[in-house]
Amino acid sequence: MTYFLQNLVNALQWGSFYALIALGYSMVYSILMLFNFAHGDIFMVGAYIGFGVASALVAFNSLGLVVLPGWLLLVLTILVSMLLTSFVGMLVERIGYRPLRDAPRASAAITGLMIGIILETGNLALLGAQRVRLPTMIQSVTYDLGGVFITNKKIMIVLVSLGLMLTLHQFVRRTKWGMAMRAMAYDYAVVPLMGVPLNKIAAMTFAIGSALAAAAGILYGVAYPVLDPYMGIVFGWKAFVAAILGGRGSIMGACLAGFLLGFIEIFVTMVFPSTLRDLIAYGIIMLILVFRPHGFFGEAYSARLRL
């Protein structure tokens, strides 16, 4: 039982990473009907920006220019990196996708893959091949809850992720920008008739998705500090799977599927050798998709109209 609970905590942590990244895929898909295949690399860029911001803050701190507690450094790192990465996302939309708004979807997909390669190799060119470490900002504390060992980092990662998801949910439900996003998901073509600038909403959606991916990147770095330029590839594909599993365009679905992915992966390794983890885990997901091709909350968006 303690073994189970121990793994449950790990599953929640991994699920948080997948869910946060999957949200970006899902939101962009729901309003523009395209999968941003550069999104995994935005996660990587976010982690690296986090590395830069954290290193700067830690340096200032040790020089005595600012004196901040570690947790505040981390909060600042997350917020500043989310902001900076959102600009990267907007740039990708502006340069990569906006010119292709009415092009066949395959062109957009190929563009996404190419942007991903540019981001990876751009990072290599900029920082070289050696890996970097996210500076330690908070010390690890382990709590023993009746045999289940939980670190403060794990708790923080799960809580911050859930907080971000709830914030996004409220934003989409309650604000006029969120309302515009929902309207675009339903009937893109008539949204301008409401006086809503489509391009701004599209840019905003990329910005939000990228900011969430950056948060995931830094949280990942807190748990596993070594970063490398290709870290976004596997994460990107897995989060994409979560977005599909959740139902294309569903925010709730993307979160749930992200966590489910974490659970399946972790619990497969409880039973099988870890080398078989992905093979079995994604075999299970394929089976689910065979029976629910639209995912959990997917509507068949076939009624989508264009003028």
Binding site: K176, A183, P192, G195, P197, L307
Partner: protein
């Protein structure tokens, strides 16, 4: 002159739907464009709202300003042109209230927005009762009311109406048209597109007759109502 359309040409996939349409609307008027199925009525409205691309040489100006140079959302937010599109095109996943609120996205005059919302609910009481219901679950008539209400919220200078009578019972239809008359009295100019030519000509002050993408007749509506050709082709003899 409020709106001036000159030499408007639109093609769909290389097939021309409008062959150089000219018309104009004065402030405060109710103008109608009538014509048979496929004549190009909806296309004309879509061109004004930038929902379709126009061909080079087309000109549309609103109070002398080149409308075609503005992005689509600013045609609504800056020029005050609202459009009730063919088939209503409500956001079925949003509530009635949200549909109305979204139409005020670019408006910052929150006091006036509140007043407009009150008036929409006063005109269409059914909408007030159902304001938290998803638009997709409304009856056809209620949806049409919401489509008109939404246009009232987004812009009040010029309203483009594409077959607002579609699917309405005679009673509701007269309600909708009554409220449109009132909206017009309060200063909103109306361009109405209708298949129901008799009703449109009775409602409007001036009319244009569109045939195969060309204006073939225009004038005061009394004259069109008594025109033997119009009578024969559009008013059932």
């Amino acid at each position: 002159m409020l709106l001036q359309v000159q030499n408007l040409r639109v093609s769909y996939d290389g097939i021309r739907a409008l062959h150089g349409v000219d018309f104009n609307i004065d402030a405060g008027e109710i103008v109608t464009i009538i014509g048979a199925n496929g004549a190009g009525k909806s296309t004309t409205l879509r061109a004004i709202s930038h929902l379709v691309q126009v061909e080079p040489g087309s000109r549309i100006t609103m109070e002398g300003r080149d409308l075609l140079k503005l992005p689509a959302d600013q045609v609504v937010s800056r020029l005050g042109i609202s459009h009730v599109p063919e088939g209503r095109r409500l956001f079925g996943n949003l509530t009635v209230l949200e549909n109305l609120q979204l139409a005020t996205f670019a408006r910052h005059d929150s006091a006036a927005v509140k007043k407009d919302l009150k008036r929409v609910f006063a005109t269409f009481e059914r909408l007030a009762e159902r304001k938290d219901q998803k638009a997709g679950t409304l009856s056809g008539g209620e949806q049409q009311m919401l489509a008109v209400g939404r246009a009232l919220m987004s812009g009040r200078r010029l309203m483009l109406l594409d077959e607002p009578s579609m699917g309405l019972s005679p009673l509701l239809m007269s309600r909708v048209f009554e409220s449109l008359k009132e909206i017009n009295r309060e200063g909103t100019t109306i361009l109405l597109v209708e298949q129901n030519a008799r009703m449109a000509l009775k409602f409007a002050q001036r009319g244009y007759l569109l045939e195969n993408g060309e204006i073939v007749r225009h004038g005061p509506t009394e004259r069109l109502l008594n025109d033997p050709e119009v009578k024969k082709a559009y008013l059932g003899g």
